[in-house]
């Protein structure tokens, strides 16, 4: 073999210019599009390679399962700051549950600061452009929230919202993939809202005999079957399938997915939303 360097011929240079030029032009053309309103697929968080070898207590398994649920379903939820409804004050409605925080209005002293909300609500994205949330009477989304109220069901204390931010994942299948018949006697994950995002509590749901309520199209599950289930919480199974939404009333109830589907369709038609 010779030691003389192989000279670059004109063909080699033309090939280089052609390939790089075509790549650059195609890239510029492709970059004109915007990424569609679905996102990186939601998958289970990767665990450390050694995690599988470590001895774990049963509660560690539960912790991992709950963390898994939060990471999977958080993109399907919207945290909404709630404030007392100015129009509803003095009309005999239930007073808004105030957060016991003496510094609640401290942030609003500064004219530019966002006022501290009275409560946080957690909305479930039932479609890519719609979310459903339980809001106690007298509370409405804050003007600083990233949602627009498109429908209201005062009897059931539910709001149909249009989030201003695009969904992190295509959320249309959250209801279709939901558990239709909940058997009970199992742990569930109850998601509720905080100022920094959704949080989760494990709740054991015992005997869950469904009850008919004339306000709802499908039978409900009494929330007292799992004592910490508070109105507004979203209930998921430990494998991240939607079970239902807890609503208030005389007795908190878990509204199953079929009833929510029916309600959303009704509210959407009422407000002229496309199906």
């Amino acid at each position: 073999m010779s030691h003389a360097p192989e000279p670059q011929t004109g063909r080699e240079t033309r090939l280089l210019v052609l390939v790089v030029g075509v790549a650059a032009i195609v890239l510029l053309l492709l970059a004109q599009w915007r990424f569609p309103n679905s996102n990186l697929s939601v998958v289970a968080p990767t665990s450390a390679p050694l995690a599988g070898l470590a001895a774990r207590a049963t509660f560690d398994e539960m912790s991992n399962a709950l963390g898994d649920v939060v990471s999977r379903v958080s993109p399907l939820t919207v945290v909404v700051p709630l404030v007392a409804d100015p129009a509803g004050e003095g009309e005999g409605k239930t007073p808004a549950p105030k957060i016991e925080d003496e510094s609640a209005d401290a942030d609003s002293v500064d004219g530019d600061a966002v006022p501290r909300p009275d409560a946080w609500g957690l909305a479930l994205r039932v479609r890519d452009d719609l979310a459903l949330m339980h809001a106690p009477a007298g509370l409405v989304p804050s003007e600083f929230s990233r949602v627009v109220v498109v429908g209201r069901d005062e009897e059931r204390e539910l709001l149909l919202l249009r989030p201003l931010d695009p969904p992190l994942v295509a959320g249309g299948d959250v209801l279709s993939g939901a558990i239709r018949t909940f058997p009970g006697f199992t742990f569930v994950a109850a998601l509720s809202a905080t100022g920094v995002g959704p949080t989760v509590q494990p709740v054991f749901v015992g005997r869950a005999e469904s009850m008919q309520d004339p306000r709802w199209s499908h039978a409900l599950i009494p929330a007292e079957a799992g004592s910490p289930l508070i109105p507004g919480a979203l209930v998921f199974s430990l494998n991240s399938r939607f079970i239902g939404m807890v609503v208030g009333g005389d007795q908190p109830m878990v509204v199953p997915a079929p009833a929510i589907e029916t309600l959303v369709q009704g509210l959407s038609m009422l407000e002229g939303e496309p199906q």
Partner: protein, 398 residues
Amino acid sequence: MRDVPPDVRRRELGGPDPIDRRLRQSGPPSPLAPIWSLLMTRSALGMTPALTPAVMFLSVGFVMGPGLLGWISPVLLDRLSLAVTIALAVLGVLVGVALGRELRHSAGLLLGASMESAVTTVMVGGSAMFFISRTGMPIDASLIGFALALGLCASSSSATSADPDSEPAAAIATRVADLDDVLPIALAVPGFAILAMSTGANLWVMALAPAAIGAGVGVIGWLLFERAESGPERVVFVLGALSLAGGAAAYLHVSPLPVGLVAGGLWTLLPGRVDRVVENDLRRVQHPVVVLLLVTAGASAMFSVAAVWLLPPYLLFRLAGKVAGAWIAAPRLDVRSSDLAAFLMPPGVLAVAFALNFAQMLPAGSGQALLATVAFGTAAFELFALFVVPQWGTRGRG
């Protein structure tokens, strides 16, 4: 350029191992032997073999994975994570051994191969950064870290379409393909550090741990391997050392590839025959390691909008990067740049190894997108080499 003994060429995918040799020696010829030999003949009917390991086992893994048949469940993939980490350390050792030997023969070849891989890394990483920021694609990780990871995955080459003994250009391309993995493996160290910044990890630990672990494992192996009293005892020592390398890297959340690179390089450069000992023992696990990595990657890769979105710039700029890198490096290597670029098109198992490694470190969403992009890109380039590379190469040589 000086001729290199055949044993120097590592051929991470195509090299014969004891299983190959045993298969070739065994029994009477099968009735299917003519068809098999036709498939395995280089450039038969103007095409290189279709059954490259990357195409075969990525497809097998994809079909068996959770996305289709579900025979490989997410739980099993999770359990395989540690085995993958050790397999990555094994690949790092193979590259380190090749590096140690080539350094003795030709540092210029390493420089040329590093230039080629650096150009590919920059072009793919830069185009990915531009594309992601312009299209508003959401990434749940550092954009620089993600783009660097994609670029490093793209820079790997295996030259599996080339028979290293067929012609001088193929011989050089094979050695370049062996050595162009060194710079990306070294760059994986800062890449991991960038990705770990958001987790609050100690950057000094991230930067220094791979070299420290690799040096420790290298010294342990150097002291132990040649003192083993029997073959099985030596195999236990070798596998134990590699498990230590992979396990320590996993514990500290650093890449096992540079750990293995340092250990393999040390075993070659230190006095004695430790590198030969390790090489002989690793030959037994070479094919299982490749199959494990490819099947795991195929099973873990899932179609997503993000992966489909990233695939076109990845394919285009890996092609452009290889052509540009070869154009820059070829004058130093006594080879036509078009020939070199053609032979370097197949990414091989190291691209998949890089992707699996970064997917372990990245947040789940972007890790999945990276792995799927690289897995599908690897299969696409193997097929691209099947149809285009021979014609491209021969036209230039004619």
